[in-house]
């Protein structure tokens, strides 16, 4: 670890286990855990603003809470100044809590409505027993003034302030202990745009003045571009891309990052003429994430099996069908026919319907017979065999292997096989365990 690293996260994992009781286990009623964060590593350098972006449910807030040890991880480590915070004892943690602070998204619910602003900001000083009474007050006043409030507001209650002012109070509270590191969890997303810009500028100024290091968690990419030095993009509990902000925004490498950036509407006159190459469908469940690259089920650029040449769209649809057959075959029951129907014509009609729904046209290649067979099997309700048929014939590396972050130079890493110089070979047995491919 280099000396300019303040926080280092290594292989962090947080799975939320459902609370299965002994009886549930006895009766075989266990539910799979939610893989909120699954093997994430990154370093935050001293004095920088490190952004963590992703859509809701991708695990970014869980990372934040786990780094501060508000949640206990299920694996991995976080080092703060070379000390693993999960091995700290109570007194060490107490010291740590002076060095790291947090500002939450909602300034309305994160301030105690029964305390005055002065008391709220003074509270951390009281808890850590810093300074005399007069010194504390002096410090509180200085901090309030620094964030743009005035001394005569010190005895007012949070409800008398607007959203932006409350967020300033939260920032003052975080700063009063003179921390080194502040976790900003969506600090401006509850604010109006005009106020949001004020708070962003304030954060920027404070960082320079106090030499702070920020971890900035957000879903608004515009805000991230504005304030962050480096950015990590998350999808379903994993990092897909990490690098300096300008490079990620100007030249995104991972297909997910590209789609994310494409999707943002620009406040620009040309916006209506821009075609968006976004993402279709919804994020899969983190209880049951896709094998291999977690994005491959929605990826436009999912890699084709070496022996076939599909239209990319057809191939993508085929991947979607495979994923459905594997994770949620029951949702296909609408297309099945009665078990005892043996009428070939009916079967064929339903099979072509399912192909139509999934966008799989008749092809002039070896693939045709396989797809046809799988469609027939699916129509007859034999989902697992349909899945096997497709799996045996078409294997994509995106599905069988887990892309680990590849260094593509200039301090950037991308977890995508498209960025590998030489893609690793596909293992012979499809669906082999992909858990330990990272090593």
């Amino acid at each position: 670890m280099s000396s300019d690293t303040l926080v280092s996260v290594e292989d962090l994992e947080k799975h939320f286990d459902p609370e299965d009781s002994f009886l549930d286990k006895l009766l075989n009623l266990e539910t799979p855990p939610v893989q909120a964060v699954d093997g994430v590593s990154f370093d935050i350098k001293r004095g920088e603003t490190f952004g963590l972006v992703g859509e809701s449910g991708c695990g970014k807030s869980t990372i934040g809470k786990t780094i501060l040890r508000l949640l206990e991880p299920t694996g991995g480590a976080t080092y703060f100044e070379d000390e693993n915070i999960y091995e700290m004892d109570k007194s060490e943690l107490n010291t740590l809590r002076q060095d790291i602070q947090i500002v939450f998204q909602d300034p309305f619910s994160s301030l105690n409505p029964r305390l005055t602003v002065g008391e709220i900001v003074r509270e951390p000083l009281d808890i850590h027993d810093i300074g005399t009474k007069a010194e504390r007050r002096e410090k509180v006043v200085a901090m309030l003034e620094r964030v743009g409030l005035s001394e005569d507001q010190i005895d007012r209650y949070p409800r008398e302030f607007s959203g932006g002012q409350r967020q300033r109070i939260c920032i003052a509270r975080a700063l009063v202990l003179e921390p080194e590191f502040i976790l900003l969890d969506e600090p401006v997303s509850a604010l109006d745009v005009s106020v949001q810009a004020q708070v962003l500028n304030l954060l920027d100024d404070l960082q320079k003045e106090f030499g702070l290091t920020y971890l900035f968690i957000a879903h608004d990419l515009g805000v991230v571009r504005y304030i962050c030095d480096r950015v990590a993009v998350m999808y379903l509990g994993r990092l897909v891309e990490i690098g300096p902000t300008d490079m990620i925004f100007d030249d995104p490498q991972h297909p997910y990052t590209r789609a994310l950036l494409e999707s943002i509407p620009r406040a620009d006159l040309q916006e209506q003429h821009r075609t968006i190459e976004g993402v279709s469908g919804d994020v899969p469940s983190p209880r049951n994430p896709p094998n291999g690259c977690r994005f491959h089920t929605r990826c436009r650029d999912v890699i084709q099996p070496p022996d076939f040449e599909f239209e990319q769209e057809t191939w993508q649809n085929l991947v979607t069908l495979q994923h459905r057959l594997e994770t949620n075959p029951r949702s296909l029951s609408e297309y099945t026919i009665d078990e005892d129907t043996s009428d070939k014509e009916t079967i064929a009609r339903h099979a072509s319907r399912i192909r139509e729904v999934f966008g799989l046209p008749t092809l002039n290649s070896d693939a045709e017979s396989v797809i046809n067979k799988a469609a027939h099997l699916a129509v007859q309700g034999n989902f697992s065999e349909a899945h096997q048929t497709l799996n045996n014939a078409f294997t994509t590396i995106c599905r069988t292997r887990d892309p680990s972050g590849i260094d593509i130079g200039e301090d950037r890493e991308v977890a995508c096989f498209l960025c590998y110089d030489e893609p690793p070979s596909i293992p012979k047995t499809p669906d082999a365990s992909t858990e330990n491919d990272n090593d």
Binding site: P18, L23, L27, L29
Partner: protein, 333 residues
Amino acid sequence: MSLLKFTIKRTIHGIVVAWAALTIIFALRFISPVDIASALIPPDVPPTARESLIEDLGLDQPWYVQYLRYIGGVVQGDLGYSYVSRISVNQLAINRLPATLELAVAATLVSVVLSIPLGVISATNRHQVPDYLASFFALLGISTPNFWLGIMLVLLVSVMLGWFPTSGREFGFYEAMRLLILDGNRYGIIQWLYHITLPAITLGTYYVALLTRLTRSEMLDQLSEEYVRVLRAKGLPETLVTFKHVLRNSLIPVVTVLGLQFGSFINGAVVVEVVFRWPGMGEFLIRAIRTVDWPVIQGTLIIIAITWVTINFGVDILYTIIDPRVTLEGESE
């Protein structure tokens, strides 16, 4: 989770709860300052007869032998014999339980039939005269002790007006129905209704007040939900919004309270049964306590505990029907 697995799981839970209740009840007997033998046996009984009586009742055994014997009996469905009348507790309970259950069901009906419409009227006329009237009524109901209400009803409605009998229970529901169905004789059911009306009203009133307040506040909560605005925006008439959507969602917590309440109806019945001389478990229990008839006390309490567990199980099943977000797994998907 299948219903079968859920039932198995809940049955195991239920057994554990019942066992715990049983143990606590059993322990009470040893904590109780009253010495059973001296309370049961008159002082003028000669010592030899006294010894054999104690031996006969098993009171000479150490506590764990008594406990194991007792548990063993309960597992086999035998609640023991009354110290006083020497009749089996099972027999006594079978005679008494229906009366209490009938009263609890009737009281529940009274409270539901009165409280839900009152709650709806209150909520849809918020801060207007009907709301204030309903609130007043609710307050009155909550602050009236039900033994007092019972006595007042007996005085006013039975003694002065002579509309209903003052006490007793001529027919059980089962016999009355049998009479009606087999012989086409309505006398039984009319007598049954005639006798149960006042106790049911007395027992139900307290909860009318509670449920009215609950329905009102739930309705108001639901009315401020975003989906209500959406229902209006799509052109749904106000009555349909109120009854089909708002009321249905408001009833979910009401059902919970109703389930818990049914259990406390059985408890509350103790007082009401005494006032109206209603031959149910409550009256039975009071009498047993007075005579320190431990097997009867234990048996009655266990039956109440088991009824409670069963009702809660029923409420959980009912939940999955009225609220699709609740699954038998206990968490939403």
